[in-house]
Symmetry: C2
Subunit: 196 residues, 2 copies
């Protein structure tokens, strides 16, 4: 491969392979460059440090579920349905990752612990989408919440069993789908407009 | 110490000290017997195996927060207040343990992973108390839930950020009290009887 056509995305894909193969403790930038057949200088031109590269890999992995969430955000449905679909899309995306490729998932669990700023941004982005859903629902009379921002954080925390990777061991458990539905029911009742 | 007066509780207290001192990987029944100045046979008379002893220590630790929960269960207050107080008592007890003695807490985190049957019983007991609160509230018209058992599990999961030890790292965070209140508000709105 010539350095001229090396893209950030190629580097991130190679870095993921290297992290999986050598483990987060041992993987180096030189390993990534070697896997791509380029000098480590070519990698540093895109990512100024090993930390920057690892954070970018983590960010990319976290963002992978965003496409499905964007679809839910764009759908022409009432806010209560959107909220349920959004939680289901997030749970589905995270669970798929954890169950389809447990080894890679474990690798990322290590990376995620190092990259607290990346995680904070990721979580803030997710809670921001929830706030958008709730605020729009309140404006249309489909939901009720005294403060959509506060409600968004509470909903995100209430659903943590179904998206926070520290709960991944529970995601293959029989009955987890039923528990997810029960939790969504409780949350949506909590946001239901009152007739009285 | 003479074997004659050795109680199970003395053994459990000594076992906790030994586990803290040597760590869960290294602590043995012989260490516990030595700490008590008795033969290891005296320990085995109460606990037939090392596993049984470790499970009993874990159980005792988990049960420590029960006294406060029992007080809440016995209080003469409406079900919505009882539910909030119960969640607050559980959160308070767990957080106190995690923040007051992080080293012992870490020791128990290891033990808890080994003792899944003990944990399952503990969790079932807690969800059972929630179901009692909710069912009594429904009977008195103070709460609404189509199925109190299902609602109890959903409430327990919704509050997992505030009692599951895997979330302990979040418990010292500024704003955690406010987040707990927002979550309780959401849960209680979800269980509110509808006037319509």
């Amino acid at each position: 491969m010539t350095d001229g056509i090396l893209t950030a995305d190629q580097i991130l894909a190679a870095a993921q392979d290297v992290l999986r193969r050598y483990g987060p403790a041992k993987a180096t930038v030189v390993d990534v460059a070697r896997a791509l057949g380029v000098s480590h200088g070519s990698v540093y031109r895109h990512f100024p440090s090993k930390t920057a590269l690892r954070e970018a890999v983590t960010q990319r992995w976290l963002d992978e579920s965003h496409a499905e969430l964007e679809t839910v955000m764009a759908a022409g449905i009432p806010a209560d349905e959107r909220l349920r679909d959004w939680l289901a899309a997030l749970f589905g995306a995270k669970r798929k990752k954890a169950l389809d490729d447990p080894e890679l998932f474990a690798t990322y669990m290590v990376l995620v612990k190092e990259a607290s700023a990346v995680i904070d941004r990721h979580v803030a982005g997710l809670i921001g989408q929830l706030e958008q859903i709730i605020a729009a629902g309140v404006a249309r009379g489909e939901l009720a919440a005294p403060d959509p921002a506060v409600a968004a954080r509470a909903v995100f925390q209430a659903a943590s069993t179904f998206h926070n990777p520290i709960h991944a061991a529970e995601w293959g458990r029989p009955g987890i789908e039923r528990e997810f539905t029960a939790l969504c029911d409780l949350i949506l009742r909590g946001l239901e407009p009152r007739t009285g």
